[in-house]
């Protein structure tokens, strides 16, 4: 796996030619429960028809917010529940317990659900588990949308962990990468814009060139991390 072509598009629109991985962009907070079954069925057909890996929109099952991954045969091969909640939904929603990184031909993927992108600890564990591509799908209230939501979210994740982050939300779509790998040095391969369409080629071998690329565990201070493991992990 040397290169992956990512395409963000509105649900069920034909992806751009050569796309390997498609992410559905949807302005809604999540798929309504009543629509979930047919939605997943259509997603499966879409992945099969276009021969792509597919990350559809967020959905709720058993009070947990999820993202999932379809393979080009139309099967769900992985899912990730949100590990943290927006505080307004804390009383209504449950959380998942662990970080799953999925090895696929389109990269070692971590599906970052909603607000998890604002927790560097989550992304750190994903990186330690070998992730090189993060798909972040989130909902941001219009009155809450400010630069901080991007810089402390997908941008920080890409710089801090040395991996690619495709950000897809109701407010923007963008691709963040370690700043050393972006032609304009901004840390974005595709600048954040209010759009539901995006197309980008990601070269995984380039990640080694960034300061945080490669094996991060070798760069951290083992003794310090052990000594303060409980403090670093707590919120």
């Amino acid at each position: 796996m040397a290169r992956t072509v990512v395409c963000v598009t509105e649900a069920f629109q034909k992806p751009k030619t050569l796309s390997d991985l498609v992410i559905f962009s949807d302005p809604r907070p999540q798929i309504p429960a009543g629509d979930l079954s047919p939605y997943m069925k259509y997603c499966s057909m879409y992945a099969k028809e276009h021969k792509v890996w597919l990350v559809p929109h967020r959905f709720v099952v058993d009070n947990k917010l999820y993202l999932c991954l379809f393979d080009p045969n139309g099967s769900v091969v992985a899912h990730q529940g949100s590990l943290h909640r927006h505080l307004s939904s804390q009383s209504k929603m449950d959380t998942d317990h662990s970080v799953h990184v999925i090895q696929t031909p389109v990269g070692n993927l971590f599906l970052c659900v909603d607000t998890d992108i604002y927790y560097p600890e989550v992304l750190r564990l994903a990186k330690l588990k070998g992730a090189d591509l993060v798909i972040s799908s989130q909902y941001i209230n219009a009155y809450d949308f400010k630069p901080k939501r991007i810089t402390t979210g997908i941008w920080n994740a890409a710089q801090q962990q040395g991996l690619y982050v495709v950000g897809c939300s109701n407010a923007f779509s963008a691709v963040a990468a370690p700043w050393e790998l972006t032609p304009d040095g901004t840390g974005f391969l595709v600048q954040p814009e209010f759009t539901q369409h995006l197309f980008c080629k990601l070269y995984f071998n380039k990640l080694e060139r960034s300061a945080m690329g490669g094996k991060l565990a070798e760069q951290l201070n083992p003794e310090l991390c052990k000594r303060y493991a409980a403090i670093i992990s707590q919120r």
Binding site: I102, W179, L224, I231
Partner: protein, 364 residues
């Protein structure tokens, strides 16, 4: 290496950097004590960071005079704490033309990736210069703090201590006592190859200005040290970041600026600027804060030098009450199960754990 030449130069330097010589310089060039620490209001803390021009010094008194001028400028602007750049403690070495040459050789070897030569030079440093240089560094900054009656963050220096080469930072209180000592925690590949050892503890100091931590060099490029500092109660972090040769604001934002956004801290970032041999050091000194604490600009920058090539002392008042940020609904949840998993991963370092390998999930 020409051992005899360097040993003679070390002997000559030891006479020049004698503690009594330092005392004499301070006596001949007295400083006016500041009264700024007589009354401290946590909502009006006055901080200064130094953007220090690299220059050749012909004598110890020239180096001390340079430091005194910078502190005096900060003092005149009402500063209560002054922060100096990383490796400021190595500057007295440049008083000796022989060691100036040796330092240039060291940087050339570093650039050409001649690690063995670098290690040989460092080994001589450990043996002949480390103690001498450290004593000069410690005495000078202790006196600087004592005579100015200010908190002085003395950047950092290299020190060979208990058989280990470490980069160590000090914060001196207004009486001249060291109130905080911190070893660099995260090392670059080059630093590791050179045999520098990382620290393993993060210290904090309860100063009159608030709780202070020091995160030198790359320590502020990782979220872990800043998070530990914040969880232990830090309000101000001193970040003497490594001298850089390329000015890139985006790259700079990956360090202390981002730690302020993650952990609600004030960060002071002193810098070296100027040319030395064929190296050009740049980068803008700054004071950073969370977005919400920079009430007028809302960009997380309290103050930053406009130029990256000239000396300056930056000064700003900060309000520690501004660090009590409103709850961010997007980033304030907790998940004990996840925390346990993360703690287990950190506790297992440095052995890679099999369960941390990526895997394909079963169909559900």
């Amino acid at each position: 290496m020409k051992q005899l030449k360097y040993r003679s130069a070390a002997f000559l330097l030891s006479n020049k950097l004698d503690p009594s010589a330092i005392e004499r310089v301070f006596r001949s060039r007295p400083m006016k004590p500041s009264a700024e620490l007589n009354y401290v209001n946590k909502s009006n803390i006055k901080l200064a960071v130094v953007q220090m021009q690299l220059r050749p010094y012909r004598s110890l008194s020239e180096w001390i005079a340079h430091l005194q001028d910078l502190v005096t400028e900060a003092q005149e602007n009402g500063a209560q704490l002054v922060s100096f750049p990383e490796y400021v403690g190595l500057l007295p070495l440049l008083i000796s033309p022989t060691f100036r040459e040796l330092a240039e050789d060291f940087f050339d070897a570093l650039e050409e990736n001649k690690v063995d030569l670098c290690r040989e030079i460092l080994s001589f440093f450990n043996e002949q210069l480390s103690e001498l240089l450290f004593s000069c560094y410690y005495n000078t900054f202790a006196l600087l703090a004592n005579r100015s009656r200010l908190y002085i963050h003395a950047g950092s220096t290299l020190l060979f201590d208990h058989g280990k080469l470490q980069e160590r930072c000090f914060l001196f209180g207004p009486d001249g006592e060291a109130v905080l000592e911190q070893d660099k925690l995260f090392l670059s590949k080059t630093e590791k190859a050179l045999g520098i050892c990382p620290g393993s503890e993060l210290e904090l100091s309860d100063t009159a200005l608030g709780r202070v931590a020091i995160l030198p060099g790359a320590d502020s490029s990782y979220f872990e040290p800043a998070k530990i500092a914040y969880q232990l109660g830090a309000q101000i972090v001193l970040c003497p970041v490594s001298p850089i040769q390329q000015d890139n604001e985006v790259a700079e934002r990956c360090g202390p600026w981002m730690r302020c956004q993650e952990q609600a801290l004030y960060a002071l970032v002193p810098r070296f600027v100027g040319n030395w041999d064929h190296f050009r050091f740049c980068g803008k000194a700054a004071i950073f804060a969370p977005y919400e604490a920079t009430r007028s600009s809302k960009n997380g920058i309290v103050v930053q030098c406009a130029q990256n090539d000239s000396e300056a002392v930056l000064f700003s008042r900060v309000n520690l009450d501004y660090l009590d940020l409103p709850v961010d609904l997007y980033a304030s949840d907790s998940n004990p199960d996840f925390s346990r998993q993360l703690a287990a991963a950190y506790s297992a370092f440095p052995q890679p754990m099999e369960h941390l390998e990526p895997q394909v999930q079963e169909d559900e």
